[in-house]
Symmetry: C2
Subunit: 140 residues, 2 copies
DNA sequence: GGAGTGATGAAATTGACTATCAAAAACTAA
DNA sequence: TTAGTTTTTGATAGTCAATTTCATCACTCC
């Protein structure tokens, strides 16, 4: 199902309203390849929509995360980042500590080992975080 | 090599001084099994050493991380935690989202796959983060 | 003892995030 | 459409952990 539809259905289910700001932010968010922080998306939006405030961007990104169309990321730089969720595959991240670029990777064998470890400790996994930090090919 | 020695050598190399506060904090840090935040270690120390300030605890923990005898952890609760580094083995964490307990796990096969992934992208790994969040056996 | 260097700790600052609130906009039902 | 109700917006203020500042303090080496 389309992520715009997911968002609108979530709004209706929760008795929330569909506003122009929310739709503008959703559009900008989905059509970006970046892993935006609130600050970065706010600044990017300000070019075309200077009336949209920081608080609105922040609240809307939290809404995206609540309804499952965005994932919250934290790469240890003190800022929460958001990325659009693709329902078809899960991925983790390589983070370049030099230029800040982010590479996504998929590795089912690691996912499998995670389940194995959880079972070892009778642990029920709800989510996980897996990031490799270092130098990307351009920054060696 | 002893971690106390590592710390003292680091201090000397950097022209820093070996003070009673630093040694007290180091002792408390190494003899704990916890994953302390600055706040928690500060409060714990205050019982026996009420004159040691928060800023000193904070600065000293950062020193530990700099010289490699402590690792900084961040489990998404908004506080940075520190744990003593055991040079002989690397581990990652299971974090219970209900009771906050932390289980350490070791899985060389995942470490191996990480290297494989890094090579795939010509990426030089400096560090990594791998945490599974969910319910521990007691909290199911 | 005195000068020089770095450390300490109380307090102030920073920065990301969250809460507040009056005004504005979106929905709802007649 | 319109009046009434509810939610949203955006500027601002507040919160909290992390960090910095700065006036002493402690140590070392003449």
């Amino acid at each position: 199902m389309d992520r715009v539809t997911v968002f609108n259905q979530y709004l209706r289910k929760k008795g929330l309203k569909s506003t122009s700001q929310r739709l503008i932010i959703l559009d900008a968010f989905l059509n970006s390849s970046s892993h935006y922080s609130t600050e970065e998306l706010y600044l990017s939006l300000r070019k075309d929509h200077p009336r949209i405030g920081y608080a609105t961007v922040h609240r809307t990104l939290k809404l995206f995360a609540e309804c499952g169309i965005a994932a919250e990321l934290n790469f240890g730089d003190g800022q929460t980042r958001f990325e659009p969720v693709h329902s078809d595959h899960h991925h983790d991240h390589l983070v370049c500590t030099h230029c800040g670029s982010i590479i996504e990777f998929v590795e089912p064998r690691i996912e499998h080992l995670q389940h194995e470890i959880a079972a070892r400790y009778n642990f029920t996994v709800e989510s996980h975080r897996h990031e490799l930090y270092g130098r990307c090919a351009k920054c060696v």
